[in-house]
């Protein structure tokens, strides 16, 4: 299954020529190097995938409704809003900072949209835009407090948590809640609009083709430059596996209502942020600042702007998540964005494998982590356990995730991969 794109006399590839390097070629080599890196503490998404399988098995055994199409559709829809907020948390964690006010910001911006849209009859697009601008200003404020006043983001966002909760209460006034009409676009998007089944299968196929093409392009370019590349059969297997998994998942969801447009929106955001982090200079500077801010500064990176962009993006995504959450509930009220929203968003990023210590993480951690949290919440609801249990168990899962993060970090240090 190997294609000889350019066949120079079989000398070692440019990056494989060092004699100390163990040759890892083909499928077995790829598998072996994956196992090696896990052992050395580069666990990546492995713990969370194992965790999801465990959660699925346990709750399915306790209540057979858990893995039914209907419950999965709800579970996935429920995870979108927190997932979007969690994406923003990934950005600030990557630069080694934290934003504890995402819950309040999401509630505050949801209140802005609801009040403008329902009470003042402002066009919903304009209302959303205004809320997003407010969120950007909030993010910029945290950035300025950090870079100009040296105020740790932990403290500034903790005060922001309280301040924006106050503003949210003031905005909603004595009534305390604004209901969004069911025929509005926001509610429709978050609750009622589903991708037609045929389109969902096409999207799944497109995703698999895109994965293959990008992998193939990289492989051809690397071979042409005489660098080692992933073998073609690995690319094919990877794409076919994704195709089968997605088509099966969509088929299963389509037995019920199907795939919500909000889910497509969330996944698109994840892919976009993943691209931005891994394939752009901005993403590289996020990681650099999180790893060693002074070294990044000396490399000519404008560290201040990197911090600002991370905080602005975090608040903006918190606003988008808040608006989606309001749409899902068809209301913005006093409890929007309060309770466990904050902690869930942060926990999701960490559970998914983004390090609290900065400089390490990925956009997919938000996706996987939110799924874990939504699965636990849904499973416990099905068991008729009240929220006290949910809090305890979510807290435990977060503790385990941080422990894994710290252990993996220790292991990386001892294996020289920190």
């Amino acid at each position: 299954m190997t294609t000889p794109t350019t066949t120079p006399p079989r000398t070692a590839a440019l990056d494989q020529s060092d004699e100390r390097l163990r040759q890892s070629e083909g499928l077995r080599g790829a598998l072996k190097s994956f196992l090696d890196s896990v052992r050395a503490g580069d666990v990546g998404a492995l713990p969370v995938v194992v965790g999801l399988l465990l959660i699925g098995t346990i709750f399915q055994a306790l209540n057979p409704v858990f893995l039914s199409s209907g419950n999965l559709v709800n579970l996935i829809l429920d995870s979108c809003a927190v997932g979007v907020i969690s994406l923003g948390i990934v950005c600030v964690l990557l630069v080694g900072e934290i934003d504890l006010s995402v819950g309040s910001v999401s509630g505050f911006t949801a209140a802005i949209v609801a009040v403008l849209f329902v009470r003042h009859n402002v066009n919903w697009v304009l209302a959303v835009l205004i809320a997003c601008v407010v969120a950007c200003v909030i993010g910029l404020l945290y950035g300025v407090l950090l870079t100009k006043f040296g105020m740790p983001s932990f403290v500034s966002s903790l005060s922001g948590l309280l301040a924006f909760l106050g503003l949210q209460l003031a905005l909603l006034g004595t009534q305390g809640s604004v209901n969004l009409p069911f025929d509005s676009k926001i509610v429709g998007f978050a609750q009622l609009d589903f991708v037609p089944p045929w389109l969902s299968y096409v999207l799944a196929a497109l995703a698999a083709v895109a994965l293959f093409l990008s992998g193939y392009e990289t492989m051809v370019r690397r071979r042409r430059a005489n660098l080692s590349a992933r073998p073609l059969n690995l690319l094919v297997i990877r794409s076919v596996a994704l195709l089968i998994a997605l088509e099966l998942l969509f088929w299963y969801l389509n037995q019920d209502r199907g795939v919500g447009w909000m889910v497509v929106f969330f996944v698109t955001l994840v892919l976009a942020l993943n691209y931005a982090i891994t394939r752009t200079r901005w993403g590289r500077s996020l990681l650099a600042v999180g790893g060693n801010a002074e070294a990044a500064r000396r490399s000519g990176i404008n560290v201040r702007n990197v911090y600002w962009s991370a905080f602005v993006l975090c608040s903006l995504l918190a606003a988008v998540g808040g608006i989606l959450a309001a749409g899902r509930l068809a209301s913005a009220n006093l409890s929007s964005g309060t309770g466990d929203v904050n902690l869930n968003a942060i926990a999701a990023a960490v559970i998914g494998g983004t390090s609290l210590f900065g400089g390490r993480g990925s956009a997919f951690s938000a996706l996987l982590g939110t799924l874990v949290i939504a699965a636990i919440a849904s499973g416990l609801t099905l068991l008729n356990l009240d929220s006290s249990y949910r809090f305890v168990i979510t807290g435990l899962v977060l503790a385990i995730a941080v422990a894994i993060d710290s252990l993996a970090r220790k292991s990386r240090v001892s294996h020289g991969r920190a």
Binding site: L14, D15, D18, R20, L21, T218, R221, R222, A225, N226, L227, R279, T280, R281, W282, R284, S285, L287, A288, G290, G291, N292, E294, A295, A296, R297, R298, S299, G300, I301, N302, G359, R360, R412, V413, H415, G416, R417, A418
Partner: protein
């Protein structure tokens, strides 16, 4: 106080009266420095002489309080590190300033990645291998985090990074301190190659052997001030040491004299005939 740069050379970088204070401490006072194209200037001095501060002023990490910096004939302000990089002043810092969580390629191209909106990883990796080959670097793979490399390997990566982007002046702060015998020779060879290519090289070193091996001119700093400038080919070590310590009677000469006396007394010649006496 001898060397005059030969008239054909052009002065690339020139400092006049540069001062820098940290609180009540005058780290640099009225520093003058000239670097010509195709010249290696060694800056030597004791601990606390202001060498690293001078490097940081030139690299844009610190800003000078007063004085003027002329680069390529025009007055410049080096407000931040990116300004220095844009001018063409590349610096290898003593602490190397690498990001441990990023791999070799990512560190080499940090801040100057190819095609910012769609990083060209293949081209960057190929260029990285070229650079590392050029330095005879012993790095098995460029896709591992800097954290897994040894001190000497990191030093090579830091030097390789300074060569990216075609600088006009390269500043090396203690470039051979962490290196093995072979790598030290490679770095000295490299400095000579840089000189042949017409770059200005500023090298900070405690190692007089390295200085005499490659430098054209030796500039001595003492307590934040200029304290002598020598032609590296003709000056003797003791002259430089005297300038570094500020006197002909200093701890180094006293030690040498004491050892010589001992030898004479015991009649054992040559066993302590160290480098200081040459």
């Amino acid at each position: 106080m001898t060397t005059m740069p030969s008239p054909t050379r052009t002065t690339l970088l020139s400092l006049r009266g540069v001062s820098k204070t940290f609180g009540a401490v005058n780290a640099l006072t009225d520093i003058d420095l000239d670097v010509d194209a195709g010249e290696v200037v060694a800056i030597v001095g004791d601990n606390g002489a202001g060498k690293s501060t001078l490097v940081k002023v030139l690299a844009g990490v610190h800003q000078a309080d007063s004085g003027s910096i002329t680069f390529d004939g025009s007055d410049v302000q080096i407000a931040d590190p990116s300004a220095a990089i844009h001018l063409g002043i590349a610096t290898v810092f003593q602490d190397l300033s690498l990001c441990e969580n990023l791999n070799v390629v990512e560190n080499l191209f940090l801040g100057q990645e190819l095609s910012p909106l769609r990083l060209d990883e293949v081209a960057m990796e190929v260029r990285s291998w070229e650079l590392l080959r050029q330095l005879s670097a012993k790095i098995p793979t460029v896709r591992i985090p800097i954290a897994s490399l040894s001190g000497g390997q990191r030093q090579t990566v830091a030097i390789a990074r300074s060569l990216l982007g075609d600088p006009r002046v390269i500043i090396l702060d203690e470039p051979t301190a962490a290196l093995g015998v072979a790598q030290t020779a490679e770095v000295l060879d490299l400095i000579e190659r840089l000189r042949e290519r017409g770059l200005g090289v500023i090298m900070i070193s405690h190692n007089m052997e390295d200085v005499r091996a490659v430098a054209d001119r030796v500039v001595v700093l003492r307590l934040g001030r200029n304290n002598g400038e020598f032609d590296a080919h003709t000056v003797s070590s003791s002259e430089v040491v005297a300038a570094i310590t500020g006197a002909t009677d200093n701890v180094v000469t006293r030690r040498r004299d004491r050892l010589q006396n001992l030898e004479e007394q015991s009649g054992m010649a040559s066993s302590h005939d160290g480098k200081e006496t040459t």
